[in-house]
Structures are given as C-alpha cells and as structure tokens.
C-alpha cells in the first residue's frame, strides 16, 4: 500500500485528489447498475414489435450505453487527475509507456563519521543503509543502477551499472562502514565524469547521496565548478545532514624526530612527543580526558615507556596540545639503539563514554619512530694536508661531530654522527650508497657520473648537501647538479661578492645578512627560541645568486635582499640541500658562528627523520594505498598481527604497493622482517568532525540552493518514483475533460434520440449552454 501511494505521489502533486477522482468513477457505474434494478414496470400490448426492435438494436444500445458510461467515468477520472496535478513523466510511467532507461547513481557514505552513533543508539551507517534500501523500492526494472561507496578509497561497485536490483540490495545490506575518510566531492566528481561519458539527458539521471554530511566531509571542498554541473546533469537527491554529536579525538601525534639517535654518548635518550586532542560538538562543558601515550614494540606485551596525562577541557576549548617526553630506560636503551636501527610505535589513546564521544574509532592514534645508534655522514672534499687551516672540510667535521673538537682533529669520530671523509676524486656510488647523508664541499670537481652517484643516495632516502666551493668564481657545476637531480634550477652563475677591495680604494660594501623575516623552517623548529640571536651575527660576503623562485624548492635561509642562502628540495625519496655560500670565512662568517653547528646538526637529523618516505608513511590514513620506498624492498606483506590483518604487497614501477587500500588503523609491520620496517595508519582526524554540514556548504558544492532535493525520510521510495518530469499536465487535462464533457453531452443527446415526442429538438446552442452550465456548476 505504501508503495502504491509512493508511486501515486510520483504521478501527482496531490495524489489524494487523484484517488478521489478514481473513486468517483464508481458513481456512474453504480448509477448504471442501480438503474437496471429500479425500472418502472409498464404493461404493453404491442410487444411483438418491441421485442423485435430489441432483438435488432440490442448490440447498438449496449454499445451506446457502454460508450456513454465510459465517457462519464473518464470525465470524473480525468477531472480528479487534472485537479491532482498530474506529472507528465509520472503518467507516462504509470501507463507503462515510459520504458526509457534511467541511470540511478547511489552514493553511500561509508566514511569514518558514519560509524558514529546517533542519539537513538543506531549507527549512522545503518540509518543510511535503511534509507538507501527504501529508496531502492522506487526503482523500476528498466533502471540501471550504479553504486558508489564514498569512503576512501572511493569504490564504484558496478562499473557499467546493473539492472540486477536484488543484487544491489544484497550488497547494500552487506556493507559495513569503513574507517577511511568520506570523499564525497571526489565521488561526485567521478559521477560527473561518468555522466559526461554517458551523455544522458538530465531527466534520465538520478543521483542520490546517502551521507550524514558531517562537517568533516566538506573540509576539503574542491572543484565546486565540476560539482555544480552535476546538479544540472542529474536530479540530485540528498539525505539531510545528521544532527551534531559530541566527539573527542586524538587529532595528531608527532614525535620530535622520526629518526632518533642519541644526542651524545652517555646521555639518557628521551623522545619528545606532541599530542593534540580535539573535540567537536558540545564544547561548552568542562571535562577531562585521561590520555595514555606509550612507546611500544609490537613484539613486546608491555610498553617500553608510558606517560599518562589527563588534560582538562575548559568550556569553549576545542583542542588541547600536550608535549610529553618518553624517557627510555637506560638499560633497555642500549638494546634499543642499534647500529642498523629499529622501529617502534607510539600509541596515544583514551577511553570515553558515548555521551561525550559518539565516535570511538578516532580515540587512538599511532606513529612509528626509528631508533638508531648513529647516522653516517660522508664529507666529500679535498684531502687537506694542512693541520691548521680552517678549511670547509674541517668546519663541517667540527659541526657534525662537536664532541671531537678536543680530540685529535684527524681522528674519526664515532659519536651519534659518524663522519666519513671521502676524497672528491674517490667519490663513487659504492662508497656512499650506505651513507645516511653526503655533504659535498667541492661540487665543482664532480663529474656527471659522480653526481649520478649522489642521486643514488637520495633515491634510497638519503640527504645530499652541496656547498658552494670556496675557490670557484663561476659555478658551472650547477648545470650538472641540476641535470643529475632533474632540477630546473638556474644554469652557471657568476659569484657575487661584497668583499672589501684588496687595495682599500673604496669602502667595503655592507655584506649580506640573513633575513629575519623569513620563517623558520620546520626542520629547524627546535632552534626557534634562539633563532634571532643565532642568525643576527651572520654575514655573507660572497654568494652564488641562485634564484629558485617559482621552482619546486623551499628556501630555508634567505638573505636580506631575498636571495637564498640555504635551499632545500625533495629529491626522489631523499632531500637535496644547497648552500649558496661556501663554508669558508672568505664567503661567510657562518662556520665560525654559533648557528653553524646546530644548523648542520638539526638539518641533518630532521631531514634524515623525514626522508626516505618516513614522514610520508607517518601520515597515512585509512583508505590509503601507499607506495613504499626502496628501503622496503624484499617485503611481501604488511601484517598487523593483533588485528589479524595481512595485506599483500605487489611491485610496480613506482615501488611496492599494497594490493588493497589499508583500511584498518594501526601499525603494520613488513613481512618478512626487514629491520623491523613499520608504518602507521590512522583514521583521518578531519572526518571526526561530527558537526552537521550546513546548507550553505552544500550550496557552495552544488552551485547554489534549490539545485537538489532533500530525501523524504518518511517515504524515501517516493523520491525515485517522483523523480520524473515535473511538468504539470493539469491544464491540458482540464481541456481534455472539457472536450469530453462536450462529447458526452452530444453523445447523450444523440443516443437518447431527442426527437422523441415531448422532448425538445436538439440544439447545438442549448447543448453548449448545458456544457458551460455543468462546468460553471
């Protein structure tokens, strides 16, 4: 019955009036039948003639009566329909003559926010599924259905669409929410592209989006122009955004370094970890969230280090950032910091009840860090026979290994940074491929092959740091560097100088200084507190005027005229740094200033922690399908033993890739064991914003208001039934009714044989008058 009413609602703007018209059809039928039972008896003598007349005219009379009855029924029926506002497409479909295929695109949001629980205790995803199934009741057999899942990764379940509606129902019933972020814009763009290929007219396409429309879904609203066309190319039906619900999440967990090496031998290592909590929804209340942060080895039952904090949320506060230090036990520390490195995971989690937190999947967050005994840095320069000259090589050695200053300057240092001297002429791939970083002080002496060897280092995630050579005046080597690393940097440059003239004929020009307006690069953020004091004394008298503006590189240190002093660029899996001044006092006083050591140390430690894909691998979210760097070569699977999850890896041109997206949040470990390679997958914190998206946001997506309709939640199937041409056929139908009334009058007059004695003669004017009277009445 509900289905019938729903379908009727698809036919008319007011189905009740149409039903009344249909019911009124029974009136002439009833009168016709009653008249047969209530006829006045009349005795008759000339019966033989009457019987013969009956015999001869029976068929004609029956036909006339039937025709009249039909016309009268039709008048009432059509009148009811006309008043009910018939919809042209609906009528055609109701009559079964509209067999044109429709494409019904169903988008089911199975992203993280749909795992939230509503006030009534039902999961949002279950509500959406139920609405989608009811909506499916409105499809007709000729409809082709496409089903998208908008949680990452977006999945189109039937590539060409399907007519097997039962299968679609079963699939919808079987679906479970995923923990990936909902990518509604991306899914809708895919539909948009698909519709452009299909080329169907807009009235043949229905796009129904079943989403909770949480605010997080719209955080990356993009390509609105494409979405705006979607509303024009199809009938767009949206579920209403679900009510805002409170949610608390671990938004971020970030260790100070992803690669941790001891600062100095003998010091107890600590690991700084920053954790941010965020809450959505009801933020006006005061509350506490007991948080546990733990460093853990997956093969150990107990955490290695644990810190517990209970931040207090003050009314109105929406986020809390905690900085904790995990102190690694000294005894275990020795075993933890190995020469080859070992990876550990850090967990931050809390427990909360459903009243304050409707989404539990984002209550825990993971990251991984690598602990290593030391890093290896090759310093490529000229062999320096002098024991007293402050050559760039020596400045670098001191900066890399400050603890060795008091020792024999020529002695190798085996501190946290192991420095290996590599003569320029001896530089080849084999010697430096195992290095974590290579510092090149005489790039002008390197040939193309040696630059290629440096490129091999960055391919493995290493860092290459080039300094301008101290004795060169023309930097032709920049061509080779740019070519080797496929950089579009400037070609050969002349050295600029602000040095005092030798003959004192003119006053010395002011040297360049490091601009304090330049923001501190993130890698050097630990120097932030002393940054101005460290930078201010630095002067530069010679430089290579490299201009990388508009190119894929970032300027870490800029001079007061805007020219860069230190440039960083991504290079394969590693990093490339270019210092435009030599580590020589004739070029700059930087090596002799306090900034130099921390600059070299922090730059390398930060870059080594984030290079090699480490940083990228800490930002993975559910639904990602990452490409693993070369360090993962040999791995066949990613396992998460605790959850019983195992994802096979496949090799492609880009590297190793899991065959399916990584859905389950947690820490995955390479299998077979590759020096404990791990990666962390988290839920996308952005999608934990359970506040409701407002209509303005939807309008922004879909090119304005009124380009979509809300789903009628009490009667979803009617939406599809009614999703037809809304052209109202009422007035044309009224004209048809008027015509039928005229025809009925004429037929009635004709069939009643108005020439009978006592009856007035037929008059067209009188007949028309009766018609007008009937209509007016």
């Amino acid at each position: 019955m509900t289905l019938l009413l729903a379908q009727a609602e698809g036919l008319f703007t007011n189905a009740a009036l149409a039903a009344g018209g249909a019911a009124a059809v029974s009136v002439p039928i009833a009168i016709h039948l009653l008249s047969r039972f209530r006829r006045q008896p009349r005795q008759w003598a000339a019966m033989r003639f009457l019987i013969e007349a009956i015999r001869r005219q029976r068929r004609r009379i029956q036909l006339e009566q039937l025709l009249l009855l039909l016309v009268r029924c039709l008048i009432l029926l059509l009148l009811g329909m006309a008043l009910a506002g018939p919809l042209l497409g609906g009528i055609a479909r109701g009559l079964g003559i509209d067999t044109t295929e429709r494409l019904v695109c169903i988008v089911l949001d199975d992203g993280l926010s749909t795992t939230a629980t509503n006030i009534d205790g039902r999961a949002r995803f279950d509500v959406l599924k139920e609405q989608a199934l009811k909506f499916m009741d409105g499809v007709r057999s000729s409809d082709r259905i496409m089903l998208w899942r908008s949680g990452r990764p977006i999945e189109l379940m039937y590539v060409e669409g399907t007519y097997d509606h039962d299968r679609v129902r079963e699939d919808i019933e079987r679906l479970k929410p995923r923990l990936g972020r909902s990518s509604l814009p991306e899914a809708l763009e895919q539909i948009n592209e698909r519709l452009e290929k299909e080329g169907l007219p807009a009235d043949r396409v229905v796009t129904a989006v079943f989403s909770d429309f949480a605010a997080g879904d719209a955080a990356e609203s993009r390509n609105t122009a494409a979405l705006a066309t979607l509303a024009r190319e199809s009938k767009l039906i949206l579920t209403r955004p679900m009510l805002e619900a409170p949610n608390v999440q671990v938004e971020m967990i970030a260790p100070d370094r992803l690669l941790v090496v001891p600062i100095a031998e003998g010091m107890d290592p600590t690991l700084g970890v920053e954790v941010t909590l965020r809450r959505f929804g009801n933020i006006s209340r005061e509350m506490t969230t007991p948080l546990t942060i733990a460093l853990q080895a997956e093969d150990a039952a107990a955490p290695i280090a644990v810190v517990q904090r209970t931040p207090l949320w003050t009314p109105g506060q929406s986020d809390v950032t905690l900085k904790v230090h995990l102190t690694l036990p000294a005894r275990e520390a020795d075993a933890m910091f190995t020469e080859t490195g070992r990876m550990f995971s850090i967990h931050a989690r809390f427990d909360a009840d459903e009243r304050t937190d409707v989404l539990s999947a984002d209550n825990e967050r993971f990251t991984v860090v690598e602990l290593r005994e030391r890093v290896r840095v090759a310093v490529v320069g000229q062999a320096d026979a002098s024991s007293t000259g402050l050559t760039p090589e020596r400045w670098l050695r001191f900066a890399l290994s400050p603890s060795g200053i008091d020792a024999d300057v020529d002695a190798p240092t085996f501190g946290p940074i192991e420095v290996i001297d590599v003569p320029t002429e001896a530089l080849d791939e084999q010697r430096i491929i195992a290095m974590d970083a290579v510092v090149v002080l005489r790039p002008d002496l390197l040939d193309a092959q040696q630059f290629a060897a440096l490129r091999a280092v960055t391919r493995r995630g290493g860092v290459v740091w080039c300094f301008a050579p101290a004795i060169s005046t023309t930097a032709t080597w920049l061509d080779r560097l740019s070519e080797a690393f496929a950089l579009n940097w400037p070609a050969a440059l002349e050295v600029e100088s602000r040095a005092a003239p030798d003959d004192d004929s003119a006053p010395a020009p002011n040297p360049w200084r490091i601009s304090l307006e330049q923001a501190i690069p993130e890698a050097l953020s630990l120097l932030g507190a002393d940054w101005a004091a460290l930078v201010r004394p630095i002067t530069i008298t010679r430089r290579l005027p490299v201009d990388v503006s508009g190119r894929p590189a970032s300027v870490w240190l800029a001079m007061d005229d805007g020219r860069p002093l230190l440039i960083a660029s991504d290079a394969d899996a590693g990093k490339l740094l270019l210092m435009t001044a030599a580590a020589d006092l004739d070029w700059t006083n930087l090596p002799a200033k306090p900034l130099f050591v921390p600059l070299v140390q922090e730059s390398l430690r930060s870059l080594l922690g984030s290079s090699g894909g480490r940083e990228a691998l800490t930002r993975l979210v559910s639904g990602d399908q990452p490409t693993l760097p070369l360090q993962w070569d040999g791995a066949q699977k990613l396992d998460m033993a605790e959850q019983g999850v195992s994802v096979t890896l496949r090799r492609s041109d880009e590297g190793l890739t899991p065959i399916t997206a990584l859905q389950q949040p947690g820490v995955y470990e390479a299998s077979p064991y590759l020096a404990g390679r791990k990666l962390a997958v988290n839920v996308d914190a952005v999608d934990g914003d359970t506040a409701a998206m407002d209509e303005m946001m939807l309008a922004d997506w879909f090119g304005g208001k009124n380009t979509w309709r809300w789903l009628d939640e009490s009667n979803p199937q009617a939406m599809l039934a009614a999703d037809i041409s809304r052209a109202n056929f009422g007035w044309p139908l009224l004209w048809i009714v008027l015509t039928l009334v005229l025809i009925e009058t004429l037929l009635a007059r004709w069939f009643s044989h108005a020439a009978a004695p006592g009856a007035p003669r037929f008059s067209l004017r009188r007949a028309l008058g009766q018609v007008v009277g009937k209509v007016a009445g």
Partner: protein, 331 residues
C-alpha cells in the same frame, strides 16, 4: 342537446357512461346529430311498390297513409333488397386490454382506463344498433386465439340487447407473466390473436354472404392476417377492418427506461424507449402499412381507429361503406 350528443363520440365522454347499451345509443345519436341528417337518409332505399300485409311482416314498413285512405294494410316495398348480414368480429385477446396512461380518465367513480376493447366494444354495439335499425341481420363473434363466444344472426331489435350483453360480459384476459426459463416458445402467449384460425372457424359458421366487421388491433403475424383476408375474399364476403389502436402504441412516447410487460405472455423486458423508439415505430408502421396494403389488395376497407379520438369517423365510414355495398346489390 345535439352538441352534447356529439360529445358522446368522444371516448372521454363515453368512458363516464357505465352502460354499454346507453353508450352505443348515445354514439349513434351523436353520430346522426353530427351528420345533420337522418340515419335513414343515409341509407340508399328506393321505393318500388306496395304489397298486402301478411302476419309476421315488420309493422314499421306499413304505409300508414294508404291505411288512412283505404283502411287496408299495405307494406312499402323497395326497389332493391336492402338488408345485409352483418357479422361483428370482436377481438378479445390480451392486447385489447391495453390502455395507455393518457387513456385513463377521471370519472366520478374513479379513474377508468379506456381500453382498446372498450373502444372497440362501443363501436361494435353502435354498429349493431345501426345495422339492426336498417333491418340488417346482425351477429357478434368474440375471439382471441379461437372463438370465445357468438350470437345468432337476427334483425330484430331485441337482438341488439343480446349483442350488448355479450360485449359486456366479454373481458379480454391479459397474460402478464414473466417468461420462465425452459418455457417452450409455442406455449408462450396463449392469449394471442390468431386470425387465421379464427377466420377458419368464423367462415365455417357464416354461410351467407355477409359483411364482416373486424374490430381488432391485429397484433398478429402479417402473413396470418393475409391468409385470413384471402379466405374471406375467397368466400366472397365483404370485410371492414377497424384496427383499434391506442395512441401510445402509435407514438411510443416514453423516455424513461422501464420494464415492459407483455399482455399476451411475452414476458418482461428492460427497455430504453428512447433508444428503441425509432426502430419500434418503423416495425409498427410497417405492420400497419402491410395490413392496409393487404386489405386494399382484396378491396376491403381498413380503417385505423385511435382510441384517443372520436368514434365518428369510423362509424361514418361504416355507413358509407354499407351504402356502397347496398347500392351495388351486395358484393
């Protein structure tokens, strides 16, 4: 009084008179008044000679002037034989009991239907009266599907009372019953007119050449009527057909759908009169035309008598026809 007498040719006036005898007298009186001449003048009688009176002769034909002069009784004798044998054939079938709504007349004693039978019986009585007045031998035969009653042939004035009594006692018996399933067709309509059979029987009884006056609605098969007329013609009788019809039968004025119930056992039929009127009238008039054509073919007089109209025209017609028959010395 003459004007009142003429009114008695109107069925509405006649219906108020209960006695058929009085009714017939008034009809004849009205008829003659309307014609402004004596009924005897209308009869072609040519004086021929006198003859002596013999006992048994009708004293009305005595010549009183001769008796006054000569004190002898002489009878007037006419040039031609003027008395005829007049046989009135009165239809008593169920259909003759019909009276339409317009023929139901309000009287002091209530609403009285003016049936076709009433109209025909009035005419028959009047005709008998007229015939007897002219020395015709008159007889009455009542019939429906067969003979239902008859009088002897006589020219005495007392005989008229017997005719009136028979007409009064005769009642058409309608058979208004639904036809039940399985009823044989032959068994339906037992009260139907069956002229062929009736005329067989009548012609067996009437041996002298006579003038037959048929008072009936003639709702019978046209072929049967034709056969009957042919036999009458063969026996050299003269026939005057006074086809008595109700105006409703000739106009079929009804519009409302009704259940028509046959009077001669035809059963009940739901009919939309407006839809059937045209076809009914076509069939009905076709029948009337055929009856007329058949009568004309045998040189019989056929006259349609409308029960809603005056009796004057048919009776005048009868008198004119009788005169013509007498003038040509019988048929």
């Amino acid at each position: 009084m003459p004007a009142t007498a003429i009114n008695y040719l109107d069925p509405r006036a006649l219906a108020t008179i209960g006695s058929l005898e009085l009714r017939a007298r008034l009809i004849v009186e009205g008829l003659m008044t309307g014609m402004h001449r004596s009924p005897y003048q209308g009869i072609s009688i040519e004086f021929a000679q006198h003859r002596p009176y013999t006992p048994g002769d009708d004293i009305r034909h005595l010549d009183w002037k001769v008796y006054g002069r000569t004190d002898k009784l002489y009878l007037k004798q006419y040039q031609k034989e003027t008395n005829l044998d007049l046989v009135l054939l009165m239809d008593l079938s169920g259909s003759m009991a019909y009276a339409s709504e317009d023929q139901i007349i309000d009287t002091e004693s209530g609403r009285v239907p003016w049936r076709k039978y009433d109209h025909a019986a009035s005419m028959a009585a009047a005709l008998a009266y007229l015939g007897l007045q002219q020395q015709d031998r008159v007889g009455l035969i009542m019939f429906s599907d067969r003979l239902r009653g008859a009088t002897r042939m006589s020219n005495t004035t007392e005989h008229w009372r017997g005719i009136v009594d028979l007409l009064t006692s005769g009642r058409p018996e309608p058979d208004v019953t639904p036809i039940e399933e399985g009823t044989p067709v032959a068994a339906r309509g037992s009260r139907k007119t069956d002229l062929a059979r009736v005329f067989d029987e009548v012609l067996g009884k009437v041996t002298r050449r006579s003038v037959l006056v048929l008072l009936s609605d003639l709702f019978d098969e046209a072929d049967a009527i034709e056969r009957a007329f042919a036999r009458v013609n063969h026996r050299r009788h003269d026939l005057i057909v006074l086809q008595t019809l109700d105006p409703a039968e000739m106009e079929f004025p009804y519009r409302a759908a009704s259940e028509f119930r046959g009077l001669e056992g035809e059963g009940f039929h739901d009919v939309d009169p407006a839809a059937l009127r045209k076809e009914y009238l076509r069939l009905f008039n076709e029948h009337l035309d055929r009856v007329e054509a058949t009568a004309r073919r045998f040189r019989f007089d056929a006259l349609r008598v409308n029960t809603g109209e005056s009796l004057g025209p048919p009776l005048s017609h009868f008198l004119a026809r009788r005169a013509a028959i007498v003038n040509r010395g019988g048929k």
